[in-house]
Every structure is written in structure tokens, then in C-alpha cells.
């Protein structure tokens, strides 16, 4: 299996990248729609420029929405940053899995690694622990374009939409996190981590500054990691 699926046998880099782009287009459209809501929600707090810059340089929905949620609730920059980084900690594990499939110079390996996002990484897996980096790059291209363009659109249409509360826009936050959680929390240990995280956050909200209940939820991940899988 592993040898038959080696990246070299899957066609030229260009063909593999193109296949990735084609596969990434529906994801790019979905990401475009989500990032419009990011732009709309971010604009009142961050102004017009910072949300666009953030989408260009961070390119991660969960971290951007997470940090924005903390800041909007009145949390500090430090709490927003730590929340965003804990949400992105999975990239560390994904990068470790990806590393053996990346060859060449450090700069080229770095360029591939920077295109890591959940859907592309998962789709680039070709079995036996190997990844097709060109497929991952291809798939990330439409998603990056959709993410940045959607943010631009959201930032500019936001003020024209009117009162965010009367449009129910504040419900975009929980809806977005529920959708991510639904995809993420599969299996006993992840469900336990989710349940524990929710409980910790609810219990602490009345007593500590905004943002900290989210960070404290990380303790549930530590506790759940001791469970048998």
C-alpha cells in the first residue's frame, strides 16, 4: 500500500497541485461564506484593516474566531492570543505527521508546512502515514483565496447590515464553534475533553475575567488524556 501510493507515482507536481485545487474549490466557497461572517463580526471591534491583515497572516478560522470572541467579551490581548494558540495546537501534531513526507531544503519544507489547514491536511493523506504535499498546497489555494476575500467582503458590508443584535449576528459565534466541535469531538476521549471543557467554562464564567474560562478549559484536555482510549 505505502509504496504504491508514494507521491512520485501520483503524477507530476503540477498535476497533483491542480487536482488539489479542483478538490479545494468547494471548500474555498464554504470558507468564503464563513469568513464574511468573520469580517462582519470583527469590524466593530477591530476596524476595517486589522481583520483583513489577520486573515492574510493567521489563516485559521478557529483561532481567529476564538481570539475575536475573547476580545469582544472584554478579555485581554494575552487571553485572546493564548486561546487562539491552544485552538491551533493541533497544527503541531499535524506538522509532526507531515514532516517525513516533506523533502528538500528548509525553505521549501517551510513553504509547504505553512499551507497546513485541517481540510487540506486530511485530504493530502495518502495512507501509510504519508502525505502528498502538492495536493495539500493545491487544496489550500482556493481556501486561502476564499478566506481573505470573504473577510474583505464582510468588513465592507458589515456596517451596511445594521444592528448586529437584531440580525442575530451574535449567534454566529456559538453556531460556528458548534460546527467545528461537531467535526472535532469524535470518540470517547475527545467527547470527555469537550464535556469537561464546557463544564469548567460555565463554572468559572461568573468568577474570573473574560477569556480565562476558555483557557482553563485546557485542563479538561489534560484530564481526558489520562483516560484509556
Amino acid at each position: 500500500m505505502g509504496a504504491a501510493c508514494a507521491p512520485e507515482r501520483l503524477g507530476s507536481a503540477r498535476e497533483r497541485r491542480r487536482a488539489g485545487i479542483r478538490r479545494g474549490i468547494p471548500f474555498g466557497i464554504a470558507v468564503f461564506a464563513i469568513s464574511i461572517s468573520f469580517g462582519v463580526l470583527a469590524r466593530p471591534l477591530m476596524g476595517p484593516v486589522a481583520p483583513i491583515v489577520m486573515s492574510i497572516v493567521v489563516f485559521s478560522g478557529s483561532a481567529q474566531f476564538g481570539a475575536l470572541a475573547v476580545l469582544t467579551a472584554g478579555g485581554s490581548a494575552a487571553a485572546a492570543i493564548v486561546a487562539g494558540l491552544l485552538l491551533n495546537a493541533r497544527y503541531l501534531a499535524m506538522g509532526l505527521a507531515l514532516a517525513p513526507s516533506l523533502r528538500g531544503r528548509a525553505a521549501s519544507r517551510a513553504a509547504f508546512a505553512m499551507t497546513t489547514v485541517d481540510a487540506s491536511w486530511a485530504a493530502a493523506s495518502i495512507g501509510g502515514g504519508a502525505f502528498d504535499p502538492w495536493h495539500m498546497v493545491g487544496m489550500s489555494i482556493p481556501q486561502y483565496a476564499g478566506w481573505v476575500l470573504g473577510t474583505v467582503v464582510g468588513v465592507f458590508i458589515g456596517p451596511a447590515l445594521g444592528d448586529p443584535q437584531s440580525l442575530g449576528l451574535d449567534a454566529l459565534f456559538p453556531a460556528f464553534f458548534i460546527a467545528l466541535l461537531f467535526a472535532e469531538a469524535r470518540g470517547r476521549r475527545r467527547l470527555a475533553a469537550a464535556g469537561g471543557g464546557a463544564g469548567i467554562a460555565l463554572a468559572l464564567t461568573p468568577f474570573v475575567p473574560a477569556g480565562l474560562p476558555i483557557l482553563a478549559a485546557a485542563a479538561a484536555a489534560v484530564a481526558a488524556s489520562r483516560m484509556r482510549s
Binding site: 464554504a30 490581548a77 505553512m114 453556531a175 461537531f182 472535532e184 476558555i214 488524556s225
Partner: protein, 102 residues
């Protein structure tokens, strides 16, 4: 505003470090099994915390308002495998209608 730009800059750097650490710095080595186990569970724990705080939180108080209906719609739509865009926009619409009616 400074807090916003600090958040953007540090989050961008930190996210790049997380994406690059495996392929560049840790070449060949891996984290301990117990550390990897925690890393794998962090997103679930934090996302669930964000769900409850964004659904029930209002400053330091916990409240029940129209967002609960929006969140319930989102969960129900996901159970029925609705696309992300339906889930998210539907949640906003349900919340907006509930506010209009109350």
C-alpha cells in the same frame, strides 16, 4: 486598538511556529506520547468552552436569551448533516426572529 494589533501579530507568529515546528525544528524527533495526547484533545476542550460561553455568557453573568435558540438550531442542523453555511446563517436567522417576536 493596540491590543488588537498585538493579538494579530503574536497569533500570526505563534500559528506559524506551530505549523513549522514539526517539519523544521523537530526533524525526526517527536513529542512524548503523553504530550501528543493532550495536544490532540485541546481543540475539543476549548471549542466546547467557547460554545457555552458564547451561548450563555453575558459579561460575567450567565443568561438565557435568543442565542440559545440559534445554537439549538445549529446543533440540530448539524445532526441532519446540513452544510456549514445553512448551519451558521440559520442560527443567526432563528436568533433574529426570536428577538423580533419577543
Amino acid at each position: 486598538m493596540t491590543a488588537v494589533w498585538v493579538t494579530v501579530a503574536v497569533l500570526a507568529l505563534g500559528t506559524a511556529v506551530l505549523r513549522l515546528a514539526g517539519p523544521l525544528a523537530l526533524g525526526g524527533r517527536s513529542l512524548s506520547a503523553s504530550a501528543l495526547n493532550v495536544v490532540e484533545l485541546l481543540a475539543s476542550a476549548l471549542l466546547a468552552a467557547l460554545v457555552v460561553v458564547e451561548t450563555f455568557g453575558k459579561g460575567r453573568a450567565l443568561t438565557l436569551d435568543a442565542r440559545v435558540l440559534g445554537a439549538a438550531f445549529a446543533a440540530a442542523a448539524l445532526m441532519r448533516r446540513a452544510p456549514m453555511i445553512v448551519v451558521v446563517l440559520g442560527a443567526a436567522a432563528v436568533t433574529a426572529i426570536a428577538r423580533l417576536l419577543t
